[in-house]
Symmetry: C2
């Protein structure tokens, strides 16, 4: 037993006080936590308690010499810190007491401080000069349970599918030659079709399960295996098969759907043209009805009006061709026609020219091509006629009279694909984060002069900031997209609203995924650059997700316009001033909460309160909507045409679309948490939500500060909390990435050897 000037009753608080004051850790509500623990503690004497409570005074903090003395007391004990203990700091305290005193029971009161303050070994590991028995990760939380939550209702099916993917045919390897790579991917797609995975979203009558949600889960799981496979799968079953399912009628389903789902009929989805990408309505390909032959003539008018980037173009025998439908000389707008493009000898049909698009940054296992049609004749029945048809009398007919509405109804059926794309990108981010985190838990670099072993790079604050908020975001987006897919599958859904939601989330999430994969690449240094380690490969593949299935910039504006159109009814009955009045009154309600006390409230309880985050997000959306409407009105009042007015406020639209989508993702996630069973995992999810909320507010802090919504002190406190939360989640980071449920064979990579 060594001597110390501290009594046993104070001694076991000393490691806590050292951590607290070395880092200036406490906000007022946290002081309260410690105070309560001390008051309830039967061990210290009254004198001890007075001393301890004195050390809690934020106005008169302990002197530096006192703090140094604490440190010396800890160091001299020679006690080892065991990170893998359930309560490492409490246990360390107990051992220190044992070193100095005869009697040293475990103090339950300390546990409470440790948990409630979220103090983690990486907060204090560096502070003590004690030896750390270090483990890369804590197992306080359970990855299997998290994975189960993320899998949702499809858990059993997903597990079966993951197992199925362990077949060696799905082993990932570098393929540089596109024709070899494409053959491999084609074979994989055919196997999946054959096993019934392609048809899952189709009705049971055609070999499916009518289960879009499961289809999306299959799609996102494939991304762990390979990006090209995922996209080719999506083109064949989602886009080509999906166009028959959603735009065709029973005759088409009967004739094609089963074969599309089994990949016996390979097809492509020919929408985009060289000169018309985002502006689908402007495409130039025509489908002209020829009454004499009762057929449609598909034609590419100009050399640059060809279809382009068409996936499966080099393998497909049929194409869903988007074209201007011309009946009796009248353009009825964009419709879709099934056009055979190859014969059974795999040669292009007469009048059809197909060219390879060549090498891309990624996805080289997908055969993208260009297609030209030269007066190609197909039967009238090949028109996918759910929303517009040509009768036997040769007359055009549609139940949707407004051509504008008809166009958007047709395109609206593609929303499912957009959700899948976001889910696929998110799988890419999950994969990259998992690799980067696991690497950071084995990679060491630099050290103190005194230590032999270098530090794990996961313990660098810059590394934590790089990866941990991104892990939290990934959880939020996973849950949001799952909710979207379920909403999509629900027939009662307001489809316009869903489109707005999906447009914004697809853009938000695919951008996030690209940024994240890039961070992960850099976080893995040179190893991240080697193709064999998958991150570089994912980077090349996921890159284009920001462009296809809707360019992100266009989609964000679409989302914002969707928000504006919520006020359409109001606008149509009483004009824009009335809309502005409504918005202004909504804003007024929210503004009433914003007083000097609120804008500078930095207490933990407030900053961690979802009500604060929701209020901040809601206020931002409302305020941006209001100012946007004002600006548009001002332009219009001065005679600027609406199209030009919208052009002028384009960056404002982007800001609104983003703000709205972040709010949507956050509220979806917190709603989900509200429905979770009580327990540690729920607690963990709540922490992820807080990190997401504060991180997003932080990213737009300049806006909040400009509006006077945040004061400088609060904005700074939020920044600090984001760093601290990241550091609190550090011990659990491996469990969090394991929770993504990436099949183990997909992680057998040289970088993780």
């Amino acid at each position: 037993m060594q001597k110390t000037s501290y009594s046993p009753g104070t001694l076991n608080y000393i490691p806590f006080f050292y951590v607290i004051w070395a880092d200036n850790l406490l906000s007022i509500s946290e002081v309260a936590v410690v105070r309560r623990a001390i008051k309830n503690d039967p061990m210290p004497t009254l004198e001890d308690k007075a001393l301890l409570l004195g050390w809690l005074d934020r106005e008169n903090p302990p002197l530096d010499n006192e703090i140094k003395n604490w440190k010396r007391t800890i160091s001299n004990s020679g006690v080892k810190l065991v990170e893998s203990e359930a309560f490492p700091l409490s246990t360390l305290s107990q051992k220190i007491v044992c070193h100095y005193a005869a009697d040293c029971p475990f103090n339950e009161n300390l546990k409470e401080i440790e948990v409630n303050l979220g103090i983690q070994p990486n907060h204090y590991r560096h502070l003590f000069e004690v030896e750390t028995i270090h483990e890369g990760t804590s197992h306080y939380f359970d990855a299997t349970e998290i994975d189960k939550i993320l899998k949702g209702n499809d858990a059993m099916e997903i597990d079966r599918f993951r197992k199925f993917l362990s077949d060696p045919i799905f082993n990932w390897k570098i393929e540089r030659d596109k024709s070899v790579f494409r053959r491999k991917v084609l074979e994989q797609v055919q196997i999946l079709g054959n096993k019934g995975y392609g048809a899952i979203a189709y009705p049971r009558a055609y070999g499916g399960k009518g289960d879009m949600s499961l289809y999306a889960s299959i799609f996102e799981t494939l991304m762990f295996v390979d990006g090209s496979l995922t996209i080719k799968f999506g083109v064949q079953f989602g886009l080509f098969g999906g166009s028959i399912q959603n735009l065709g009628t029973k005759k088409h389903h009967d004739q094609y759907l089963r074969n599309a789902g089994s990949a016996n009929l390979l097809g492509c989805f020919a929408m985009t043209e060289s000169r018309h990408g985002s502006n689908v309505r402007g495409i130039k390909t025509t489908a002209t009805y020829d009454k004499a032959s009762d057929s449609l003539i598909i034609h590419t008018p100009g050399q640059d009006d060809n279809k382009v980037y068409i996936g499966n173009a080099l393998h497909a025998t049929m194409a869903s061709v988007f074209a201007q439908l011309i009946v009796n000389g009248k353009n009825e707008g964009v419709h879709t026609v099934l056009v055979p493009i190859r014969n059974n000898k795999n040669e292009p049909m007469p009048g059809v020219t197909i060219k390879d698009n060549g090498y891309k940054l990624g996805l080289n296992g997908v055969d993208n091509g260009k297609i030209w049609f030269d007066q190609v004749k197909v039967p009238r029945e090949n028109l996918l006629n759910k929303y517009g048809d040509i009768g036997k009398d040769g007359k055009y007919h549609s139940d949707i009279k407004n051509p504008n509405k008809r166009f958007f109804t047709m395109l609206g059926t593609l929303v499912g694909g957009r959700i899948c794309v976001a889910k696929g990108a998110l799988s890419g981010a999950k994969m990259a984060l998992t690799i980067a985190v696991k690497y950071a838990l084995k990679r060491r670099q630099f050290s103190d002069n005194v230590k032999i072993q270098e530090d794990l790079i996961m313990d660098y604050p810059t590394h934590q900031m790089r990866l941990i908020p991104a892990v939290a975001e990934t959880y939020v987006y996973h849950i949001s997209l799952d909710r979207m897919i379920n909403t999509y599958s629900d027939a009662s859904t307001d489809s316009r609203k869903l489109e707005t939601h999906v447009a914004g989330l697809k853009a938000l999430i695919t951008w996030f995924c690209n940024d994240t994969i890039q961070e992960c690449r850099e976080a893995c240094g040179g190893k991240g650059y080697m193709m064999e380690n998958r991150i570089a490969d994912l980077k090349g593949d996921v890159d284009i997700f920001t462009t296809f299935e809707g360019d992100n910039t266009v989609l964000m504006q679409l989302a914002a316009k969707g928000v504006l159109s919520d006020f359409k009814a109001e606008y149509e009955t009483s004009g824009i001033s009335s809309v502005l009045k409504l918005l202004s009154s909504q804003l007024g309600e929210r503004l009433s909460a914003i007083n000097p006390l609120y804008t500078n409230k930095v207490d933990k309880d407030h900053l961690y309160d979802p009500k604060f985050h929701k209020h901040a997000f809601d206020y931002r959306t409302k305020r941006l909507t209001y100012t946007l409407a004002m600006r548009i009105r001002d332009y219009i009042k001065k005679g600027v045409p609406p199209y030009q007015a919208f052009l002028k406020v384009q960056t404002h639209l982007m800001a609104l679309g983003k703000a709205y989508s972040i709010e949507l993702a956050y509220t979806t996630f917190t709603d989900f948490i509200d429905g979770m069973a009580d327990g540690k995992t729920r607690f963990l999810f709540q922490k992820l939500a807080v990190l997401y909320g504060l991180h997003e507010i932080k990213k737009d802090a300049s806006w909040y500060l400009e509006q006077g919504y945040l004061g400088g002190t609060k904005s700074k406190a939020i920044k600090q909390r984001v760093e601290r939360l990241s550091s609190e989640l550090r011990p659990h980071i491996e469990v969090l990435v394991d929770g993504f449920g990436i099949p183990e064979p997909c992680l057998r990579l040289p970088i993780l050897d």
Copy 2:
């Protein structure tokens, strides 16, 4: 002649007033410009002038009906807007007057408003319903002149080199197979060596010109041709040859330098190891002096201590190997030894194992490999002995006694390579921007219902924000790096300071380049994803520039530590409190400028004033330094060891490193402008500087707002000014990218067809 209610004297102001009020364009100093023009104008009557001046009242703006009436007057005239006129708005005004009045001379006073307000066709093109005779670009500025400025002193040599690169051997094409690609690049490097381009930085005695600046220009120009070629060139001549030049002595120069420069002796630079990248000091390879044989034994102790990512490893016959030098059992620290790794039959030397690193995200024309040494013996003379030597007596000797200082002196000689890397990345950004801008000047998408032709995507504000600030940044960084290279070449330079500068700029610029190439990829949609169009290729190549020659995160911290060490003398004599006192007094001086008037000053003259930008940057650097020093002191006072204290403030270090580097780039650029001859190009460069300055302040607006340095109104005004400046530069954007001087054959790409 049509009738109008406006007199001829007011009529020619109407297009101006319409533009001004439709966009609420004017700040107070700009009102003054218009007021002055009106007052000096002899044409309007006194009554006219009263009316015009009345329309300038920001407190009582013209009524909406008045504004609509202006618009009608313009539209009814049927006059066409010719964008390519020198003063399009003034000319339009004249024509409108001609339409309504008999006499319509050109009004010189209008020119002044047009120029001083920076009103450009894209400000108002959308506002009028007049036909626009549209050209993608203005030729008001001269790309050739700009290019000449950027080329600096090396103009003639650079022009000759650009011409030389038109040789078909340098034609870029997609090479998927790494062995084919590597052979091609090797051949290119040999040709360049043969022609004397590799040796340029070496002394004349060894076939060079002793011209590091020209070497850097050659290096950056190569990037337009191909990334792999650039890097292999840099490895052979810069790193391998450079290590002989900078770390060796005359005997090494005489024996190797000429052959290194002609590429007759192929070499590599073996520093990085699998377990030690950023922490060079911790490398494990040993070079042990064996007295008996008077030789050095090079050895790789563990399986994972191999050299890795070594460029030229598959072709080189010699390596500059970095190893712990052990003499008489004592580790003298990291030194460099020339080690033959292949014999003349191209087989690995005994004891040397070389493996291919395999495929990477990019740079697949560079043969990166891993190297292991198993007790490989080389003569003592192979030690590059400029900074540390083993005498014939077998004793170690160095003029630099402090091993720490010795290590950093050796590494310091590599600073030139770091500048080149940043320059190479910047060429990648220039290339991507040039392609994206030129594409945006031909790509059309969407239109008003009334127009047949769709809009150029370059005319979308989102697109302008995406590309135009990045073009301005590119100019700033080009000039900054040129200055660095000249400073490097100047023997009188304070090398520690230069290292700090280069570390920060390399990190800042390579990150910027990656972000920019990514924006360009997305701005080109699907075409950007096709390898044939170069952007995707550049993306893959430039990606790793953030990691090699110093990981950016590590470099930014190095830069910050360099800033702190400016206070070293102060610290050593009087301790940290004295440093803090000094910093605090420096801050105090700056703070005196910041009063409520200043924090809310939104006038154009102030916002565009370089003094404002410099003050803001200087204040940020000083403030971050002060708070950083405070935090470190607090930790140390509490007994936290310095290494741990620096770890805890890591994100703060990053912020300081970045702030410092931005300030450095900005002041270098504005200093450069101060030295330019008066004229339009100088005016253009000034505008680029303003855009850079405001854009950077905008990016960190949350920090400035938190500090109370900016008020909300000013912060918003800065955001608006960034958009407006981008839009003002829009007509000149093609000239600006042409100014980068990319050889025309490098731009013969399908996307620009």
